[in-house]
Symmetry: C2
Subunit: 563 residues, 2 copies
């Protein structure tokens, strides 16, 4: 045990040093540019300049925020610049105030922060959600940012690029309708229809706008977070920055250990991407792990605390109804969702209905004041191939559809979480049932894992399912790392999970026929055909690994090394 | 350069030591058992005894031959025992003879072999293929072996197992018809119909029978082979043994460097799985790489040489017709198949039709005498997403269908090779076109890669496509390693490629509803639910990695580490 402890201390010290000395990172051959979305809205992207005759430029979607811009100074003790401050101010529907919840030990021991203890709240009677604005016909700055970001200037650049890069295979969209050019009005209309969400708490002005919806690029979420037995705030901040480098569109902080509030503060203040949480985890820490000590009051207080901090979306297990629990009795693997298991245990111990369900309208009212999106958790998702698509799962899904309608009454943005473990032939039904019962609210799935036989490789078993459900219309894919079912992911696991899921998301974008998707494939393939090795590396999802593998080998064959 | 040379020497010495000292390997918690298929036919499998109340046994398909059986002595200089010798003798349709082609330097420098320079040939007028026997209504020992191997005794064991392990989700088979129980008559009928092949040269009696067809378990091929600049015979033999440990159902020796004949000899004599080659590679070595020096006579001589050695299937690019070449002119990535590019260049230089196509009947006549299966190569397969499903590819596919009919006239077994690089939405058409034009002969695809943007991770980009096309009916999946497009795979790459493809194949088996598929998922999931960690590791595709990841981590969460 002492070697474990000393190993943990070393890791933490390394992480502290890493984030203290952090300097913005650029991949070789890439540089940060900002696309002008009008009205002083600057959209970051990673530009790769090719070595072809035309010096074609390829613009890549970039999630790394200031950590990907050498022109910016970053100081994790201060946090990122507040990009959205002026937009929020201009709307005049919020007011600054002192936070109610400001634990005094936010600061790390030898390392004081400059985080503010203020927050912003909607003015009385005001709803400040993107859905509210969208329904009112207002195109927000966030929507303009997103429209520009989704297009990555493909139209403007086409004439300056090698013409071989232009062709695009026809997609098969399963009912998605992606326009050739995404404009801000389209973004507004999709949000207004509830088909897409922009998860951005007014107290997370550091975040860059992004959108989750099936008529946009498929997004990827990375889970990080410490536990009671491992990892530190420093390591989690490092994983956050690392995640955005490898393309995490959102990050969930699933911390369960000590200092949950402080870990989250560090993460949100330094995150260029939306942050999601599972508030029931913190509630359980507050009551020392005693499920029967959980209560609606504690839950509401925790939501309030996290709302002030700037959490962009809450996963809440409102659909785990007391009456559904018997449906899980004959399952091979019971209830595997941690949040689902907590709520199920509470219902059974108390012989009462799920308090999150009971108080759902109050939760919506709170979310409307901060623009927190709801991610309706699938607490009864299957934990094995055997349990996929059973009645427990679908009963909960239908309930989530009812709750979606209620959230929309409050102008609160909603997405729906999905499984889990599902064999290939049952994946499509998950998507069609979700669309049918949840009124086209965006779907956000974990994998799904398409077999249970490969622990250690569940990024791959699930990446297969993720690509498929992304194609069918799933809007965001929650990554799975190689450590799934075995332990907590380290930095390398986070990277492996992300690369696998960026592959799945991109394969889905190609398959749906997203107009901006195939350009990168074409550019990389043209480079391959022309033996422009550096261009291949620079365009790769992971330039470092591609370059290293090439250099390890003796001069390699040019084309496919196959018959 | 000198450090590269010394590095190469070290690797080679390590490999020599490894294979010299080789001892049969068993995974922890597993042991080798033999299932009795009657008539003294013993089918190897890996038995995992669980720690549940019933001490349930799970039998797993095992490709490792004698290298997986501690009761056997292995000596790579002598080669494996000749399992099929007595079956071949009993048929009395072959005769032993001296090999025509026996280069005198088969032996490694300081390391003499005991390989025989004899071979076996069909008696004049005799056809010795499994297809021939099948059509004559004969159930061979090979077919009995295969029937037993495909079932893995699921019926017999069910009553002794935890009943939670029995349920199976309904499959969606896309027209495949897999019976509940596979018997030898079914194997015969599928071979007779040309829907399945048993690739077993009469000169490779060391090989254990296996079957490739869409009404059987999806199979996986691993490519190995040295090149002029890297690797040695020792390393390739080590990779062969390693491949079968991780589940390679067949292995292709794609050597292109020096000593091709000797490398192949070592591989075949030590291979418990069928070996495929691309004979044009050796032809090209024989003429010093000069494509215009290739000729039909040289090709035939090379086929004869490899037939005597025991190659089980030949990939030949007979469908790359002179008139199809203009169809590739507008492609983004031209012709990426090495064999295809060689034949295309020959046709263009000589202004003549492809000699493999011209002499196809003579090739069939040769194959019929040794029972060599033909793998009709897709020399015009797409090398990028942009080129997928184009006219060049499908024109060749239709030609392969015509050639299939001709091969069947000679009772020669045939499978069809497929792409390559195909986005998700275009994969199904590959399968349906193949079934339509190639008369249900088994399909054998490379991947396909579902995006071009992830060099370094093409095992994953292609594993996604492989799972999908396996589900749709592809019978064998040719693996892709992380080094694809970048360099030659080392041992670790081979393993990564294999594990990824075993996942894809198994996901496809589940999706098709193969009756033996879900048992292993159920057993592993039940172990997970019961916290029987060792059972989880022992049942995993890669027990070593699962165990190591678990041990690396602090006590990990039990269920999914997610909301």
């Amino acid at each position: 045990m002492s070697s474990t402890t000393s190993n943990r201390r070393t890791l933490r010290q390394q992480a502290m040093q890493n984030i203290h000395q952090i300097a913005p990172h650029q991949f070789t051959g890439s540089h940060r540019v900002y696309l002008d979305a009008g009205e002083d809205i600057q959209v970051p992207c990673r530009a790769v300049t090719l070595t072809d005759a035309l010096k074609s430029q390829i613009f890549l979607y970039d999630c790394s925020g200031a950590f990907g811009d050498p022109a910016q100074q970053v100081n994790v003790r201060r946090g990122l610049p507040t990009l959205r401050q002026t937009w929020l101010d201009a709307r005049q529907d919020t007011t600054p105030t002192q936070r109610q919840f400001s634990p005094d030990d936010i600061e790390l021991e030898q390392w004081p922060t400059e985080f503010s203890s203020d927050c912003r709240r909607a003015l009385p009677g005001k709803t400040v959600t993107q859905l509210h604005y969208a329904r009112a016909g207002i195109i927000t700055a966030e929507m303009k940012f997103i429209a520009c970001r989704e297009n990555m200037a493909i139209d403007n650049l086409a004439s300056q690029q090698d013409e071989r890069l232009q062709p695009q295979q026809s997609g098969r969209s399963f009912g998605a309708h992606i326009p050739k050019h995404i404009n801000a009005e389209f973004v507004r209309a999709e949000v207004a229809a509830g088909r897409a969400i922009i998860p951005l708490n007014i107290n997370h002005p550091e975040a860059e706008p992004m959108i989750i919806g099936r008529n946009f690029l498929v997004k990827v979420n990375a889970n990080i977070g410490n536990s009671s037995v491992s990892s530190s705030i420093e390591e989690e901040v490092e994983k956050l920055i690392w995640s955005t480098r490898w393309g995490a569109d959102t990050v969930m902080d699933l911390s369960t250990g000590r200092r949950i509030h402080q870990t989250r503060e560090w993460i949100i203040r330094n995150s260029p991407v939306p942050i999601g949480t599972v508030p029931i985890y913190q509630c359980l820490e507050k009551v020392g792990g005693k499920v029967d000590a959980l209560s609606w009051e504690l839950f509401l207080e925790t939501l309030q605390e996290q709302a002030e901090q700037g959490v962009d979306y809450f996963t809440i297990h409102a659909g785990v109804l007391w009456e559904f629990l018997p449906l899980t009795a004959k399952r091979l693997t019971g209830i595997v969702s941690r949040g689902g298991a907590i709520m199920a245990q509470w219902c059974q111990t108390k012989q009462q209905q799920n308090f999150i369900y009971q108080h759902f309208r109050e939760i919506c009212a709170l979310c409307a004041q901060y623009d927190i999106s709801l991610s309706l958790g699938d607490g009864l998702r299957p934990g094995s191939i055997a349990d996929a698509n059973d009645e427990a799962q679908f009963a909960e899904l239908r309930t989530l559809g009812e709750l979606t309608k209620i959230a929309w009454e409050y102008d609160v943005q909603v997405m729906i979480e999905g499984p889990g473990h599902v064999p290939l032939q049952l994946i499509e039904a998950n998507m069609t049932e979700q669309l049918k019962h949840c009124h086209e609210a965006p779907f956000y799935t974990l994998g799904p894992l398409t077999t249970d036989i490969a622990p250690g490789y569940d990024h791959i078993t699930s990446g297969i399912g993720a690509a498929l459900i992304g194609w069918f219309g799933c809007a965001m894919l929650c990554y799975v790392t190689p450590k799934e079912h075995l332990g907590l992911p380290d930095k390398e696991d986070v990277k492996q999970g992300l690369i696998t899921y960026k592959i799945a998301a991109h394969a889905a974008d190609l398959a749906k026929g997203h107009p901006a998707a195939q350009l990168r494939d074409n550019a990389l393939s043209a480079a391959r055909y022309d033996f422009r090795w550096q261009d291949q590396f620079n365009l790769a999802l992971d330039p470092d690994t591609a370059r290293a593998y090439y250099q390890q080998s003796a001069p390699a064959g040019q084309a496919d090394e196959h018959a």
